[in-house]
Symmetry: C2
Subunit: 419 residues, 2 copies
Amino acid sequence: MRQSQLFTHTRREAPRDEASKNAQLLIRAGYIHKEMAGVYSFLPLGWRVLENIMRIIREEMNAIGGQEVHLSALQSRALWEQTDRWSDEKVDIWFKTTLAAGGEVGLAPTHEEPITAIMREHIASYRDLPQLPYQIQLKFRNELRARSGLMRGREFFMKDMYTFARTEKEHEELYERVKQAYFTIFRRLGLGDRTYLTFASGGIFSRYSHEFQTVADIGEDTIYLDKTKGIAVNKEVLEESVLADLGLEQDKLEEVRAVEVGNIFSLGTRFSKALGCVFKDAEGKERHPIMGCYGIGPNRLMGLIAELFADERGLVWPKTVAPYSAHIVALSDEPAVKNAAEKVYQDLQQANIEVCYDDRDGVSAGEKLSDADLLGIPLQLRVGMKSLKESAVDVFDRATGEERRVPLTQISETVKSAI
Amino acid sequence: MRQSQLFTHTRREAPRDEASKNAQLLIRAGYIHKEMAGVYSFLPLGWRVLENIMRIIREEMNAIGGQEVHLSALQSRALWEQTDRWSDEKVDIWFKTTLAAGGEVGLAPTHEEPITAIMREHIASYRDLPQLPYQIQLKFRNELRARSGLMRGREFFMKDMYTFARTEKEHEELYERVKQAYFTIFRRLGLGDRTYLTFASGGIFSRYSHEFQTVADIGEDTIYLDKTKGIAVNKEVLEESVLADLGLEQDKLEEVRAVEVGNIFSLGTRFSKALGCVFKDAEGKERHPIMGCYGIGPNRLMGLIAELFADERGLVWPKTVAPYSAHIVALSDEPAVKNAAEKVYQDLQQANIEVCYDDRDGVSAGEKLSDADLLGIPLQLRVGMKSLKESAVDVFDRATGEERRVPLTQISETVKSAI
């Protein structure tokens, strides 16, 4: 992408009504646009980041046997009444609207009901199980407050997987399989070393649910962490009996702030029973599949990654989610510089490296570098007269601040080995 | 994909409340699920088809300089009041809902307002233009009737591109560029030979808008077609002066039914003026960009393709949008057959061919072939004892009905050259 053609521009100030640091930064860098509190649009660079996050999640869901679907946002009242989750007293974040043809419909805040209704039509025998359908689709939640930027939205993408198992044992195997996939996802997103499996309250069908909590000062949650064991407990289950159960000792726990980046939950037969989803077991007896649900919010992850890694100069993207791998900055408009930068741009594209090229005329080197720092692409390839005299380019690592001079002939390899 | 693991199953009957042929077929084949009239969910095979259609559209939009964005579904009342399109009298297909924090919001039926408001913040100079942002995002339209399956939905994906030009001449160039990209898209989707540029009424800023109409008996529209010239006029502009303008003669026109698969529209400065989107021209004078909008509905295309190419046995997908390129059918459970089919499955995957393998045990050859015909994957690779005796597989072309025996050693090449 030639930056001269990119329609977004950086700006010095975020809108005054934007309270969250992640949205402030992302708006200043031209990644997102605020439509209203808790509702953001994604501009070209921001959409690339979000798509990278969603691609990583998708790859790991497919790797464990997930089958991707796309469920509608509009939801029928009748369906949700069957599980007693239609009324605003039971679910207090519904957006509801009215069909011109008559009748109320809702905007899906989650999708247990529709996926179970679909499975009801397709599952008949124990041979049809287990199943792990998932989707990455918009969710709508009518939050009273939404001041955390991308971290808590009224409209946002959610990856939600649902598992359908024949037996409790099979359910536990699936649950463990998804749990491991989640660790892989957070590792690939650059959050592996600070994300902990956290025990939270479980509901009717299991003693615990599990949250994945990323330790961060900006977190809304408080968790109690045993770093040696690599697990944590949520405040809500911080009780003696729970600690004993998990083999934890109160005085070895560290109280830290954290952001919930994923949660996984055993649903038992709550939904399959209410919606009449059954299968015949090997003996021909009708049973209800045992379900689990597994959520990850790509928007929240993007907001967290933006805020967590940012420094005073701007965004600092991990390589796996950055909108581009390399950012070529032509430090002046002199023909020798422009020609060399153009050559590097062509070479990197030829090598299938995603690259952004700041080819803007009449913009000072200082302004370009300050924009590049704000955009946060991992590697800056700074092309100027000084390095060109040595037939080289200065390769600047946005995260570490290290810079080294690399011969023009070795740029592609250098970038390839760094990403 | 092993069919034994695919969670969807085919069914003999479509739901009684489903009136449209495309949805009936797609439900029977397990591609989609009906949530309510005009609202469908996409199951694994259906989602693959829809994603193929969206990928082709995306590639062609990127090829002409499109920059992908993702605009929110929730829309603020204040924004749409600025263009006088908030009231239900002006736009009669709004879904509206209420924020818990107070205030009405709408579900975007289209996105001219938000994209113009975004451009207002990013465009300053003539150097920032032209621009061609686009997205593929859900649209919500509160249609009074929705009986056409995927062809007219209350919730559906739309690819909408918007162009922003400096001058009328530049606008015309962009308009022509998108028009050509649309022809490419319809050609790639297998609709090229029956899709015609159709002149329709233009609104304030230009004499005509253009529709892309695919000739099909199931169409809701009537168009008047000059096959020699390759263009058509919509009923609404079938007037002497228009025909003279276009060099058409009434008696050479053929009246045909057609489905509108795309439309492109000159918006002039209607939105840039109302929303205060300006740029400074080379003389420093403030001007409003001249806009165009360009829509294609992937859901409608999927419904049309499903219905148009289907035969009495089921779906017949064009190669470019089929959920898989090849469908291996093991005609019996005999070990020799299963082993050979498994080997073909591995070989094709190795060759990076998207392949579905009907590996189900205890299902008769007849039932498997009837399912394969219903699913409509372009090539069936029928593996049975008879052909295996010649170390071969019968390759059946779903569209033409032709079958030929291909040696096992040549399967990958044969499939590759056919897709």
